[in-house]
């Protein structure tokens, strides 16, 4: 039984994870984070105003009303810079590896 589980795990591709980022006090936290292709990034807006997580390369644009949560799946490797369209003083980046 144990051997079968090991075999299944070994055969399966790496399990995609979820990376959590807060929008809090008009900032992304953490502002720099590492992730892998296939991971889901989840932003939780903890402020009382709306924010966006908008990629400078156009790869995602998550628009969140106050107290809402939204996500995107990372599709390609590389560093992605993103910001809030409503408050462009909010800047952050995700370093995506294969």
């Amino acid at each position: 039984m144990f051997a079968i589980v090991i075999a299944v795990l070994a055969a399966a591709p790496a399990v995609a994870g979820t990376v959590h980022i807060a929008m809090k006090d008009v900032a992304f936290s953490p502002a720099k984070i590492a992730a892998k292709v296939g991971d889901t990034v989840e932003w939780a807006n903890k402020d009382f105003v709306a924010h966006t997580a908008t990629a400078r390369d156009g790869s995602f644009n998550v628009d969140l009303a106050a107290s809402k949560t939204g996500r995107t799946v990372l599709k390609k490797a590389g560093k992605v810079e993103y910001y809030c369209r409503y408050h462009p003083t909010m800047k952050a980046e995700i370093d995506v590896s294969k």
Partner: protein, 174 residues
Amino acid sequence: MKLATLFCAAAFACSVAGPSLAQGTKPTDPQIAHIAYTAGQLDIKAAQQALDKSKNQQVRAFAQDMVRDHTSVNDQALALCKKLGVTPEDNDTSKNLVKDADAYRAKLASLSGAAFDKAYAEHEVAYHHQVNGALESTLIPSASNGELKSLLQTGLKIFKGHEEHARSLASSLK
């Protein structure tokens, strides 16, 4: 432009330290709440004028952002005043803000098209810059209630975001 901005900032600083807030006396929490709330309401009025007059999608989107954010901040401010039992108190700084904003809206009313868009965007840069300066130098340091101070500090971060947003809007309209 730089000189004009400096002059505006200086004029605003003077109005914040104006007659009702005599030499050396700090504004009280009820006065600070009134000034901050009034500044937000005036930016909402400016945005409503832009929504009435402008056909530029970027300008309209910015104005909608201003209505949404300043409404949220002012709702928080009113809820906090209620919780603390603070009644916002009108004062000369608030009155001067209203007078200046009324005069500027009248000036903008005579413009249209690209000229209106440009003037509105540039005014939003200057206005947020002035209010942010007053928050930093006078209103936040003078606030005695911790929750009011904290809300003003969060407001300042939001409004600094607006100032940068307005700057990029204004430069895209040139």
